[in-house]
């Protein structure tokens, strides 16, 4: 018995060690980026590297937050991402409610064509979208990028919310309908409050995708005053910050911060959103 117990103890220790080793590999680059943002360039580029946490300067943050260029990029990204989340939530709640509750012609076709959107090559869409939006004066226009970002999140958002609406018992709708509640009020007052975790999951997912978007921003916004943060980061990596790794990492960390904060406070919903679509429980 004692040998068996000892073996179990050893395997458990090995399990922890392996998990912690990989955790270190996954987390260290984030730590390293954050550390570089608090250091000056000679420290950042010193060899051998200084791994211990130490702060030599806050100048990097001062430099970025006092430069109007980067403030504009951050502002644009915030405008686009929050509008995308709000509009996408409205559109996908409505669509997913009727997809969950009503039967109508072409419903199956609609549901499967929603999923097919994901396998369309985004670059090919982008090429025609660029010429189309240029004609419609939607390039260098918030609305154009917002529409593009919405359409990238919409299919999965609808599927996710549909699976949440499916869990709300139909008897609730029916009793509300008998009490004289109209269809739209059933959606707003009965079903919607019951799927708040789903709404949170979709909101976070949409924000993540929109904040992360680089390609649409790159092609649809080419005026400096309209560029989003990811495009701005890529440009300064080639230009202004080409040998300034401390500055580069500061900008990179600032861009990651909103998502890291969302993650720290709302990770429960994030995990629900991630696994809810694919795992049937």
């Amino acid at each position: 018995m004692s040998i068996v117990k000892k073996n179990i103890g050893i395997t458990r220790i090995v399990t922890y060690l392996v998990i912690c080793f990989f955790l270190l590999l996954f987390l260290f680059p984030i730590y390293w980026m954050f550390l570089a943002s608090l250091r000056d360039n000679p420290t950042v580029m010193s060899m051998p590297p200084k791994f211990a946490p130490s702060i030599t300067t806050l100048q990097n943050y001062v430099q970025i937050f006092s430069s109007p260029k980067y403030l504009v990029y951050i502002k644009n990204s915030l405008i686009v991402a929050t509008s995308t989340v709000l509009i996408c939530l409205c559109i996908s709640t409505m669509a997913s409610f009727v997809l969950s509750r009503y039967r109508f012609p072409f419903k199956k076709v609609l549901l499967s064509s929603l999923l097919s959107v994901q396998m369309f090559p985004i670059v090919a869409i982008l090429i025609s979208l660029f010429t189309f939006f240029s004609k419609m004066k939607l390039t260098n226009n918030y609305l154009g990028l917002i529409l593009a970002d919405i359409s990238m999140s919409l299919p999965l958002a609808i599927w996710m919310l549909k699976s949440f609406f499916d869990t709300v018992p139909r008897s609730l709708d029916e009793s509300a309908a008998i009490d004289g509640c109209g269809r739209f009020r059933i959606l707003v007052e009965i079903a919607f409050p019951l799927i708040k975790p789903g709404i949170a999951a979709v909101a976070i997912y949409t924000f993540l995708k929109s904040w992360d978007d680089y390609m649409f921003g790159l092609v649809l916004m080419n005026k400096n005053s309209m560029k989003t943060l990811p495009v701005g980061i890529a440009e300064s990596f080639m230009g202004e910050f080409v040998h300034n790794y401390a500055g580069m990492m500061t900008l990179a960390f600032i861009a990651s911060l909103p998502l890291l904060l969302l993650f720290i406070f709302f990770q429960r919903y994030m995990i629900v959103g991630l696994t809810g679509g694919a795992v049937k429980e």
């Binding site: 299919p155 990492m249 694919a278 795992v279």
Partner: protein
């Protein structure tokens, strides 16, 4: 509210017409409810459909159309049929096969390494360890980092003189040259962009597989344990069949993701060196926006779509068979 008002109006007019001709109150109510349902459904679907039609389906169809045309920045308003000129251009130089090969290498490399890594970690996290939720959250952290930041962070880590990667490998005596080139070396550049992608995307797979493992019916596991089945046999005969659907979905999502990946490659290597990391998405982008040949770019996109839809259709057919 607008829809609500519309429904009521519809009901009253519809009811009077139908009621007048048939005179059966019961049928009348049913008929108007059904029509109302339809109108309500289409009205609420409409915004989603309009956005997708404008931004995805119309450009896609237009893309297929212009892939058969002379379509450069000189003649944007007047695309002319050029008898498969774009497709000839792509296939003539064998460039397309080269790009396709790179794409397959990139997709295969990222998805396989993600899968192995995620499977091992998910199985370890599924044992009776303490703090599973904390570990799960910590692992997910790198997944939340924006893609552009991932590409810049890893460009820095892989930088020959000041990068951490070379320092660590050299201290462990794994490489001889302390200033090894990675992203500018034709042999290793692909490995570099795969590494960055795996770092960002593997956590997603860990979470998915772990969720699948935790949904495995414990009665089955207990029964296997009582029958004295070994760990390996239990895994192959009980666990694997239970998580097959989750694995399939996760893998296909990762394949589609890797196929579409543009940001990481474009910002780390820009498709180089020697076009060794030029995947289909990089090639289509460059054809359209660096060489200003939108027709040829679209042609690459069209062939790519055919390949992806074939993969997805095969997957759907197979997964349907699995579910049955």
């Amino acid at each position: 509210m607008f829809v609500e008002a519309g429904r009521i109006r519809w009901n009253s007019t519809g009811a009077s017409k139908k009621g007048g001709s048939m005179g059966q109150p019961f049928k009348r109510v049913k008929w108007t409810t059904r029509t109302g349902d339809l109108l309500f459904s289409y009205a609420l679907m409409a915004p989603a459909l309009i956005v997708l039609a404008l931004v995805v389906f119309y450009p896609m169809i237009k893309g297929i159309f212009v892939s058969f045309c002379d379509y450069t920045f000189k003649c944007l308003n007047n695309p002319q049929w050029n008898s498969f000129g774009n497709y000839k251009k792509i296939f003539e130089s064998n460039a397309f096969l080269h790009y396709l090969g790179n794409t397959v290498l990139y997709v295969g490399g990222t998805v396989t390494s993600q899968f192995i890594l995620a499977m091992v970690l998910a199985l370890l996290l599924n044992t009776d360890i303490k703090g599973r939720r904390m570990f799960r959250s910590l692992f997910l952290m790198s997944w939340t980092i924006p893609t552009i930041v991932v590409s810049i962070l890893w460009s820095w880590l892989l930088q020959p003189q000041y990068g951490l990667f070379n320092y660590v490998l050299h201290s462990l005596n794994l490489i001889k040259d302390p200033n090894m080139q990675w992203l500018s070396n034709p042999d290793f550049a692909m490995g570099g962009v795969i590494l960055a992608m795996v770092w960002k995307q593997a956590p997603y797979m860990i979470i998915m597989i772990l969720a699948g493992l935790q949904a495995v019916n414990t009665d089955l596991l207990d029964a296997a344990a009582i029958d004295g089945a070994s760990y390996l046999r239990t895994f192959i005969h009980v666990v694997l069949p239970s998580i097959a659907v989750v694995l399939g979905t996760t893998v296909i999502i990762s394949v589609l993701d890797a196929f579409q990946q543009f940001t990481i490659i474009f910002n780390m290597t820009a498709g180089g060196p020697l076009k060794k990391t030029t995947t289909l998405s990089i090639a289509a982008y460059k054809e359209a926006f660096t060489h200003y040949d939108l027709g040829a770019g679209s042609a690459i996109g069209v062939i790519w779509m055919i390949i992806l839809s074939t993969i997805t259709i095969i997957f759907n057919v197979k997964s349907k068979r699995l579910e049955e």
